[in-house]
Amino acid sequence: MVLPPTVAGFALLMAFGRAGLVGGSLSAMGITLPFTTVAVVLAQVFMAIPFFIGPARAGIAGVDGRLLDAAVTLRASESFTFFRVVLPLAMPSLLAGAAMTCARALGEFGATITFAGNMVGTTQTMPLAVYMALQSDLDAAVVLSVLLLVMAFGLLMALRSAPTGWFWNRKYAPRPGQ
């Protein structure tokens, strides 16, 4: 989270560039990543993923160990327990993390422009478009900015007003055991 976006973009370019560590073998297979739409996604994931990992880890660690014990004594395998108990109980945290990640990715600028460039129709994201519009058409910049703001805000509101059914585990307060 502390990595400056431009530096992150540069690092990605170094890694996935034609002469890069990973990029070298990729280009041998005929795959070029930098300055493509895939690069945009990669840059955004790279920058935003910490916003998912924090809440997700907390959510999974927050699942009551006694429920896992119960699952084991009910003959459940680890994967069965993960999909039937851990995942649904951690879902609110996972969704919250996903929404935060989404909001962060929506506004990503530095890493994207460094790694993916700013090509209209393939790699230009909204923040990049706002920056470009700012130099020529102020009205377009305002419209795009407002749109971005509405989208980010909408995400936050959706998260806040999610059906309470997703949040039952907050109400779950087991009795203190021995």
Binding site: R66, D69, T73, L74, R75, A76, W168, K171, G177, Q178
Partner: protein, 357 residues
Amino acid sequence: MLRAQVSKRLGSFTLNADLVVAERSVTVLVGESGSGKTTLLRLLAGLLMPDRGRIEVDGAVWFDDHSGQAAPAATRTVGYVSQDYALFPHLTVADNVAFGLRALDVPRGRVQARVKGTLERLGVGSLAARRPLELSGGQQQRVAIARAIVLEPRLLLLDEPLSSLDVQTRREIRGELKRLLVEMPCMTVYVTHSPAEAMAFGERIIVLESGHVSQCGSRDDLMRHPRSSYVAEFLGVNFFKGSLARDGAREGVRIAIPQGDLLLSAGGVEGEMAVVVHPREITLTLEAPAGSARNVFAGTIEELVPEPPSGELVRVTLSTIPPLIAEVTRQAIEQLGLVERMHVFASFKAAGVVVVE
């Protein structure tokens, strides 16, 4: 048949326990908090592995440190009901009960039939679509038991199943649970704090004290020969430790306990000894007794507790020195007009003092 001999170290606590549970029987495990009851259950369930020992159920080895066998918990045919029930809060009652069957890939139609049947057997068939949070404590408890027994376990482990219920519900469920356990074709280990539950459920009672089995036997064995003050207190028997002090033939045998003296009819061993006085041996009077009872103590009544279930007997806790517990009939209480804080004399014959150690 369950045979277990396990030892487990957890920090500074060490559990060392032997356990034999016969087919279709209920063994009650009692002991203070921290005596290792829950740890022992977790070892049997496979949630913890022993450091040393062997666990064998119906001839199948679940754990053996010599051969290195250690069956994972998920392979053991165990039903485990924890103190807090640990129902899955996101699943309905029916899905909670179906959980284990689905984990075992039981065909869908059979799952439904077995879930329905088990819920009905426990009287909670109408709650199938509810979530655990919408249930009362007693209903949650029934669902937790249904979830455990629907898998037809060989070994049913109940960890203080009634302790988080209110008194009224507890009394209700105790009877139901007793009937259920009698019908169950499996072995049951039942952990409890409550003497009443130990009496009601346990054909055999095992007493754990700081990680060791201090005594095991039938209820009557324990009543007659409690081996420690904890067992005696747990069962409500007066238990004293003291040393023999012979005072000449006239006086008979006297044993000195920290709070005074008790008179015995027959001599015991020299030196340290333990004696019990059964609460039924103690007579309560308002005046100093002039009868043949040779042990007389004065004090006030601290508490009057009717003995469940019939309530025909009343347990009387006395603040005599030493403190005594007497058991008298309700008619006697009414006749004497005994109430709490009243000053009375407690007496018992020298023959009522039984040497147990």
